[in-house]
């Protein structure tokens, strides 16, 4: 059981990184990104393709970060011409485009069968220690991303983001480059998602186009809504809770003697119901965003 829970914890931590990334975009700035999995995929495939060609893992990860930052900035720039909902659809389309490229470009990505035998970390350690080491690594990266997120949203830049979120004209009239702010927040948050992708690829030693489907984006959205959109701590809590919910419901058919195939649908139902329930009854999430209080010290 411990082994199972450790596995859940590592994946929850990696999803936590994705949640922080989405929170910077949607929570702080009001950017409705429905294509988050695309940035995840950039990091994952950068790692997969580089290691496949024998490159050392830091290079793969770095390539993923740089590509994601560039892609994020480009997508952010689109926010100039596209209104919120249209931008959301565009991000969804772009992520799907990436998935299709991964699916069909055999020479680069090995197509549908994916890239396997990606070197994992901590291979010298025994299974239990390896899981603990992974948990430590994932938690460390999560903490780092959380720290960056807090700093980025804490000062004037953060205020600009929040103003862009609700009253972009007011922001512009006060001298803030609205488009530039969107570009910058995307350039900061997209690499976080890519980092999550690289980590996950090293964790299961595999990446395939099946992991780039929109469902992953919506799972992170659920985590962010349940946890508290706009609250960095909240979204991490949301990631942990939703991941736990999703994985622990695997035990439904053990406890309740439901046929396994129905249990699978039931689990998706539970996640969907949680999302809808929160949207309707507690849209702020479990840990809602709070008004920032600026006192004399800060």
């Amino acid at each position: 059981m411990l082994d199972f829970l450790l596995g859940v914890a590592v994946v929850a931590a990696i999803y936590g990184i994705l949640a922080i990334s989405l929170n910077l975009q949607a929570g702080a700035t009001g950017l409705l990104n429905f294509g988050l999995v695309g940035f995840f995929g950039i990091g994952a495939y950068a790692t997969g393709i580089s290691t496949m060609h024998g490159a050392p893992w830091p290079l793969g990860m770095a390539i993923g970060l740089v590509l994601a930052a560039a892609a994020g900035a480009a997508v952010g720039r689109l926010g100039r011409t596209l209104a919120a909902e249209y931008w959301a659809i565009a991000t969804l389309a772009l992520a799907e485009l990436l998935r299709l490229v991964a699916l069909n470009t055999d020479s680069l990505t090995r197509g549908p069968q994916g890239i396997s035998a990606v070197p994992g970390f901590f291979s010298g350690l025994g299974p239990q220690s390896r899981d603990l080491a992974w948990l430590g690594l994932a938690a460390l990266v999560l903490a780092l991303c959380w720290w960056v997120s807090q700093r980025v949203t804490g000062a004037q830049f953060g205020r600009v983001l929040r103003l862009v979120r609700e009253q972009p004209d007011l922001a512009a009239s006060l001298g803030h480059d609205v488009v530039g702010a969107k570009v910058r927040v995307m350039a900061i948050s997209a690499p976080m998602a890519a980092l999550a992708g690289s980590l996950y690829t090293h964790y299961i030693s595999f990446i395939g186009p099946g992991q780039l489907e929109p469902f992953a984006t919506f799972l992170v959205w659920t985590m962010v809504v349940v946890g508290g959109l706009g609250n960095a701590f909240g979204v991490i809590a949301g990631a942990a809770i939703v991941q736990l919910l999703f994985d622990v419901t695997r035990f439904i058919d053990d406890v309740f003697d439901i046929p396994s195939e129905n249990a699978g649908g039931l689990r998706i139902l539970v996640v969907g119901a949680a999302l809808l329930g929160f949207l309707y009854f507690r849209s702020g999430g479990l840990v809602p965003e709070r008004l920032r209080r600026i006192d004399a010290r800060s």
């Binding site: 700093r151 980025v152 830049f157 609700e166 009239s173």
Partner: protein
């Protein structure tokens, strides 16, 4: 200081601005009046960079600004407020005021992360100033409240405060008294005079003729996208074109009452 030269703006087949020229000199308080649909807000948007004109030009302190982004115009020292001063619901008054300040350290994402101490120091000074301004605007007790929860009038005051945080050399105000109660209007006029005294030139779009007469040096009258008159507030009532434009609506009381009138004429309303 600010000059518009032959500004034209079309929306589909409609000419919202049809060759508007005006000039505001440093230190003035100028009003821009006109009936609904005359193009006042459109003109304000063009002057502040929120709309690009189809023809003509706008120069500010000698340089053309009509092709600049609104935030660049603001950075040059020309700020504006909005008719509907909608404030964010998830930011406090103090935060909105700070957002109006020029904080180069804090505005950089990089420095927010890696130079937190410097950022905090820069912010402390701004917080002091913001609270001072809020006090002048009688909003200080609400400093930690959500800005979007304020009443309409208070939100307008907050807009003004936030704009002032950037030490603008010129301010374009879009109907600053709409929705503000009469007592507050008087204080507002006082405040604007102080602001001018401190070195900010003002262009005010207004409907309240009393307010205009009390405060402004000059008035431009706009109708159907054209400037039809430019005069002192006291001369407005006499100008036939102005009266015609308003279709015989009321004259300002600051001039003189028509002999024999008993009740003060009501104010011009939207």
């Amino acid at each position: 200081m600010l000059a518009a030269e032959g500004v034209r703006k079309h929306f589909g087949g409609l000419a919202a601005l049809d060759g508007v020229s005006l000039e505001i000199r440093e230190g003035e308080i100028v009003a821009l009046v006109g009936p609904n649909g005359s193009g006042k807000s459109t003109l304000l948007n063009v002057l502040s960079g929120f709309l690009e004109p189809d023809g003509g030009s706008v120069t500010y302190e000698g340089r053309p600004i009509h092709r600049l982004e609104p935030w660049d115009v603001s950075q040059l020292g020309l700020r504006r407020t909005f008719q509907l001063a909608a404030q964010p619901t998830r930011m406090s008054l103090l935060e909105v005021m700070l957002a109006g300040a020029r904080l180069p350290e804090g505005s950089s994402a990089w420095r927010s992360v890696f130079r937190a101490r410097r950022v905090r120091a820069e912010q402390r000074a701004a917080v002091e100033r913001a609270r001072g301004l809020l006090e002048e605007l009688s909003l200080l007790p609400l400093e930690h409240h959500a800005a979007g929860m304020l009443s309409g009038g208070q939100q307008k005051l907050l807009s003004l405060g936030a704009a002032l945080m950037g030490d603008p050399r010129m301010l374009l105000l879009d109907e600053p008294t709409a929705g503000v109660n009469p007592t507050l209007r008087r204080t507002l006029a006082e405040r604007l005079r102080t602001i001018r005294a401190r070195g900010t030139t003002l262009l005010i779009v207004e409907h309240d003729m009393n307010f205009v007469a009390e405060l402004c040096d000059r008035v431009y009258v706009l109708d159907k996208g054209r400037v039809i008159a430019e005069c002192a507030p006291s001369e407005l009532a006499e100008d036939e074109r102005v009266v015609e434009a308003y279709l015989g609506s009321v004259r300002p009381t600051a001039a003189r009452r028509a002999p024999g009138a008993t009740a003060p004429p009501p104010e011009v309303r939207t």
